[in-house]
């Protein structure tokens, strides 16, 4: 590796154009670097391209041009299966709508974060149990998701993102579906994860939450118009 410690994520001149008439330019020449242990808020209006940037960072989507480097590896050189492996082992996603499987218990929803790593079920459950304790839901592990509150469901989703010990966590409006009390507890959880040294990128509409984070990226019409920089690190 050329760099002894490459950044966790790096976007180099990334553009994403969705075909159509007219084509939609969701990302326009975005370059940004996110270092290990950073906590970054991504702000911007709806449709500004925040989610596209997050999906590109997490290799769920591929840029039309430019390159995405994850831990120094250029993802444009990887096959679809290799990108799946990166998502399964190095990226933790948290979504606004949780996406928990309703038919299975909380512990197995969390253990599913390791499903595609080939780990055995006992190993996955053991890891899931530890992470559930970490997010404060150890007592709820055998409940079904629909027996939980929204805030608890999002904790389960965060636990699922963490269970594989990812290089970074990408959260797309994790508090968008929650009341303010639940929101606060989720944000507190994210901060405490940051304090443990995890790299976290959070999309949020909430300016107070964004302002509290060490670094903010502002997106407007697909462009990165403001980066508060890494000074606060």
């Amino acid at each position: 590796m050329p760099d002894p410690q490459p950044p966790a994520i790096e976007l180099r001149g990334v553009s994403k154009i969705y075909p159509g008439s007219p084509p939609i330019k969701a990302l326009d020449d975005v370059s940004v670097q996110i270092d290990w242990g950073q906590m970054v808020a991504v702000v911007g209006q709806s449709g500004s391209g925040k989610s596209t940037m997050l999906n590109v960072m997490g290799t769920l989507d591929q840029p039309t041009s430019g390159s995405v480097l994850i831990e120094g590896t250029d993802t444009s050189l990887l096959t679809d299966n290799q990108l799946s492996a990166i998502r399964g082992r190095r990226v933790g996603f948290v979504f606004q709508r949780f996406f928990l499987l309703s038919g299975i218990a909380v512990i197995d929803n969390v253990a599913n974060g390791l499903l595609y790593t080939g780990a055995t079920r006992p190993d996955r459950r053991k890891a899931a149990e530890a992470v559930l304790e970490r997010v404060g839901l150890g007592a709820r592990k055998w409940h079904k998701p629909d027996e939980l509150s929204g805030g608890q469901m999002q904790r389960v989703a965060i636990a699922r993102a963490l269970v594989g010990e990812p290089a970074f966590v990408l959260a797309d409006e994790p508090t968008g579906n929650l009341d303010s009390a639940s929101s606060n507890s989720i944000i507190e959880l994210l901060f405490s994860l940051h304090d443990e040294g995890r790299t976290i990128v959070v999309i949020t509409h909430n300016e107070a939450i964004a302002a509290a984070m060490p670094r903010q990226l502002q997106i407007l019409d697909g462009r990165l118009v403001h980066d508060s920089g890494t000074a606060s690190q």
């Binding site: 989610s51 492996a85 399964g88 082992r89 996406f99 038919g103 499903l115 595609y116 080939g118």
Partner: protein, 397 residues
């Protein structure tokens, strides 16, 4: 960066597929039911047709295919043809003939007693015959006894199965008499149905000599029954007409009653093909049901697909998951269908008194058909699921 590829253990592939089905129990059960009904109808049609055919073949075997009948021809110019009185004697001299018997039409009505108006004959005819008839026809007695050399000359009757019913004869505990013509006749016995001579079931039989003596019957055979040695049936058949009536061999009509049963068996086989076709249609509809459930599942479960891609599933993993689901549905349906079809075959065959035959081809074929349906019905939805773009799936779910 050197990463191990995404990997889903085979046991997990099964667990994921089964888990998804279990989460949608009712819908899964209904679509499996579609397959089950299709497979069950195929298995039952094959099982029932084999069982019923075996019953028919058993019957044919028991009756023997070596019975021939000779009747006066009814073709052109044969309006008043009659068999010669000597028919029985000449036929019984043919060396390949095992046994011969004949019935003679007696012109008389049968009544329960002498108070019944003469025109209410109940459609029962009266035949004179000899004691050898029962043996020649492989017939059986239900009650009492058949005519004997002793009763052959006397006003004694044996009643056919249907005739006994019409005349209300249920047992012979008390002596039963019938009023035949203008004379009382003692009933000696009641017959079981004849499989190869149904017309005798609706008849009352009296001795041929009694017929001649009491009813002035001319002993011109209405039908001659000939039991032939098994290996010489065709040869005997060829010479019988000329033997009976050397002058006008075309006036003697030879037939083989068991041909009728064999024709019935063939007719049932053609019905089997029809029902098999219907079963195949049912199976097709069941398969479409599974495909439908899978396609709807792919649309409904975009969020799940997107999530699975986000936690590391490859396209192949998604494809395998949906394929496993379809295959499991079809296999469950197929298993249930085979069991149901076997149960139906058992139940109906036992109710009909048939020997139960479950053809292995029906069981294996039914199961294979279900698996094939699962493969076909699962392939397209599975491929479609694997092609869903993860971001689109997460956005639109």
């Amino acid at each position: 960066m050197n990463l191990a590829p995404s990997r889903l253990r085979p046991s997990e592939t099964a667990r994921v597929g089964l888990g998804s089905l279990a989460a949608r129990r009712l819908r899964s059960a209904l679509s499996a039911l579609g397959i089950a009904i299709g497979i069950a109808s195929l298995v039952a049609v094959l099982g029932l047709s084999d069982s019923s055919k075996s019953a028919l073949l058993d019957q044919i075997g028991a009756l023997g295919t070596n019975l021939l009948t000779i009747e006066a021809g009814s073709g052109f110019g044969a309006g008043d043809a009659a068999l010669p009185e000597t028919s029985v004697a000449t036929v019984s001299r043919v060396p390949t003939v095992e046994a011969t018997s004949a019935v003679y039409t007696v012109d008389a009505g049968v009544y329960r007693n002498d108070l019944v108006p003469e025109d209410l004959t109940g459609g029962i005819s009266v035949y004179g015959t000899d004691p050898g008839l029962l043996g020649a026809l492989n017939g059986e007695i239900a009650l009492g006894s058949f005519l004997t050399e002793a009763t052959r000359d006397h006003p004694v009757a044996v009643v056919g199965a249907v005739a006994a019913e019409r005349l209300g004869i249920r047992n012979l505990d008390q002596p039963v008499r019938l009023y035949i013509g203008d004379r009382w006749v003692e009933v000696a016995g009641v017959l079981e149905p004849f499989a190869l001579a149904a017309n005798l079931d609706r008849a009352v039989l009296i001795g041929d000599r009694a017929a001649e003596r009491y009813y002035d019957t001319e002993l011109v055979p209405a039908t001659v029954y000939v039991r032939v040695y098994e290996d010489y049936i065709d040869e005997t058949r060829d010479v019988l007409a000329a033997t009976v009536d050397p002058e006008n061999p075309e006036e003697a009509e030879i037939s083989r009653p068991s041909d009728l049963l064999e024709a019935r068996s063939a007719a049932e086989s053609s019905f089997t093909s029809l029902f098999l076709g219907l079963g195949a249609v049912a199976l097709l509809v069941g398969g479409i049901g599974v495909a439908n459930v899978m396609v709807i599942g792919v649309i409904e479960r975009r969020g799940e697909i997107g999530l699975r891609r986000a936690i590391g599933a490859t396209r192949a993993h998604i494809r395998r998951q949906f394929f496993t689901e379809a295959l499991t549905l079809a296999t469950l349906g197929g298993t249930a269908g085979v069991l149901l079809g076997v149960a139906v075959t058992y139940g109906y065959s036992l109710a009909q008194g048939w020997r139960v035959i479950i053809p292995p081809v029906a069981v294996i074929g039914g199961f294979a058909a279900a698996v094939a349906i699962g493969v076909i019905a699962g392939l397209y939805p599975a491929i479609r699921a694997s092609r869903v773009s993860p971001t689109e799936a997460l956005r639109s779910a």
